[in-house]
């Protein structure tokens, strides 16, 4: 059994370790490129969403490298993603690739749930399972911290691009860590690298929250590198979704402690009291939270044709008007050009910058 799985942001680094630690041979999903997307688009229904198409391409590239089993997650609520693994499997079988598929629900509750779902993947004694899970989890946490840290550094960096270079270096160090000792060593190296990025500590950047469908929020290729672009435009980005967020009682950046999902649901209630699938409700609630926490605006990332996000977008228009809080939705699909995203982001940054200038009389 050779396993491949979706690539979503930096998480693949830890997930590969997890499956390896459970005794599987792993074909790590290759970086998503234009070729991945072309391949995926060719074999996907036209009105499937962007995540479906990218995953299709990722699976085909994984199969070309020898994978015979695909592990993927299910969806949450009335969202088509719950149906995707089966759709992908049928398309792959039609193409003559008779791969096995294992569908896991995203780890939303306790770790034990995840372990239970992973049973088909476990080929080592139980004592080793715990070690493997813990190691992968620690790695995932470190990866999230690095990303969060990069969001903080980028708008403050003195040399444009230095954060992104440091970030990539950190990823390759973490990727190389094979056991808990090496991971601890990697952690201190990473902290050193990030601390050495020259910044202006007195800068007061604009702050923007990213909300939206999980895949396009977490995978930079899917969103035209929105976080990096905003960072280099001088904006501190904060993301509402981190895979490990609920375990981190003490966030690396304490003032950025992440509000719990139930707060988001409560705050969304005046606008939306219905499960609409995907991250619909959460996005509405998170937007309210961002506006209360002194952010300058929110970027809402939505795959084109995604029903939960279309509903959320309609409601966000109202939230934005009520709270006088700028929200911009970016619809993403295979026709989305990075330049188009950039133009809109630049205009959005001008908008929120002028707003802050007017409200606070601060030149920035």
């Amino acid at each position: 059994m050779k396993i491949t799985f979706p690539r979503m942001g930096t998480s693949y680094i830890a997930i590969a370790d997890l499956f390896r630690g459970l005794g599987n041979e792993v074909i790590s999903p290759p970086p998503i490129t234009k070729r991945t997307l072309d391949l995926g688009t060719r074999y996907s229904p036209e009105f499937a969403c962007l995540p479906f198409k990218i995953l299709m391409g990722t699976y085909l590239e994984g199969i070309a490298r020898g994978a015979d089993t695909i592990v993927s997650s299910g969806g949450v609520g009335p969202c088509r993603a719950g149906f995707y693994m089966e759709m992908h499997r049928r398309i792959l079988w039609d193409l003559g690739y008779e791969v096995q598929t294992i569908t896991l629900e995203p780890p939303k509750g306790h770790l034990s749930d995840l372990v239970q779902q992973l049973r088909r993947l476990i080929h080592v004694p139980l004592s080793q399972v715990w070690d493997a899970v813990r190691f992968a989890w620690k790695k995932l946490e470190l990866l999230d911290i690095i990303e969060e840290r990069a969001y903080y550094l980028r708008p403050r960096e003195l040399v444009r691009g230095s954060t992104t270079r440091a970030f990539r270096k950190c990823l390759s160090i973490v990727r190389g860590a094979k056991d808990p000792e090496e991971l601890a060593e990697a952690k201190s190296q990473v902290e050193e690298i990030l601390a050495s990025v020259p910044i202006n500590p007195e800068a007061v950047p604009l702050k923007v929250g990213l909300v939206g469908e999980i895949y396009v929020v977490l995978e930079p290729f899917a969103n035209g590198e929105v976080a990096e672009t905003l960072g280099e435009l001088g904006v501190e980005v904060h993301r509402s979704i981190y895979l490990t967020k609920w375990t981190r009682e003490n966030a690396f950046l304490d003032f950025f402690r992440i509000p719990a999902d139930r707060d988001a649901k409560r705050l969304a209630r005046p606008y939306l009291d219905e499960m609409i699938g995907g991250h619909g409700i959460i996005n509405v609630g998170e937007t309210v939270i961002y506006s209360r926490n002194g952010f300058d605006g929110v970027i809402h990332l939505a795959p084109f044709t995604c029903i939960p996000e279309i509903v959320a977008k309609g409601i966000l228009t109202k939230v934005s008007a009520d709270l006088e809080f700028p929200v911009m939705t970016l619809y993403l699909d295979e026709h989305t050009g990075k330049e188009g995203v950039r133009t809109r982001l630049e205009a959005f940054v001008d908008l929120i910058g002028k707003k802050r200038e007017k409200e606070q009389g601060v030149a920035w």
């Binding site: 970086p31 800068a203 630049e346 205009a347 001008d350």
Partner: protein
Amino acid sequence: MNVFLGIDLGSVSTNLVLLDEEAELIDSIYLRTGGRPIQAIQEGLRVLGGRHRGRLQVLGAGTTGSGRRLAALVVGADVVKNEITAHAVASLKEVPGVRTILEIGGQDSKIIILQDGVVVDFAMNTVCAAGTGSFLDHQAARMNIPIEEFGERALQSKSPTRIAGRCSVFAESDMIHKQQMGHKVEDIIAGLCEALVRNYLNNVAKGKDIRPPVVFQGGVAANAGIRVAFEKALGVPVIVPRRFDVMGAIGAALLAQETVADGRPSQFKGFDVAVRDYVTNSFVCQDCPNHCEVVQVIEEGEVVGRWGDRCGKWSASVTAPTPKVHYYVEGAS
């Protein structure tokens, strides 16, 4: 004379303007980009430079439009701005209390909502270019009517034909069908204008709070048929500014003036950019599986700019002076 140069390098047209220190328009030029952006800029500079030979001192230069980064690199700009902000800045100058800007250009259309002189909301067309200049050009050519007369012909119509305007391809089929049914050309053109306005309001302007004063600018604002169709649909007067066709460039020049207001010297390379030799080429970087397509601009045999690489290796290898593209926060104040 001291002037500020604004360049709007768009997909269809390239516009250059010169403003004096009182922000009055000294001269402007509107060219077709024709798929050769650098040549269009050079041609513009050659003409402007020739008209005012030796009498101009450029204190600042700004660029906007989809080719703004390329334009900035070629001329040496002090500021590079997105089209939304550039259009808003120019419009505010022309119609100080403007609340809504409808802008339709060659291939894109936008709506900008302002409040107390500040942009509060905007949208650009995403999946559809129906109703933009290129489509109107194409239809005018197909019907054998000079594009300049298109709007006037629309105004002659007494009862516009209903045209399906959701998609440009279907709009065209529907127009052909209506022609074959014997509808008058004027009525079809007027119907097309109304269909495009409907399409714009339903797609680009959906969910936006449109309030007067409404300003209509961009190349398509030359078309009186579209303007009247907007007035009919919105029920308010629609103002077309005098220099509706070069508003983006005017905005870029105004922003250049603002940028150099602190007394910094301009990075403008001078009008002789027009005679320099520029070559652009691209290559696919094979160093990682991303296979980025890297574009490079070569000025007189020397690489002056590179972009397209995700890792920044190539773009960082060229140290061109960077114009102000984003706000860098200098510190808490």
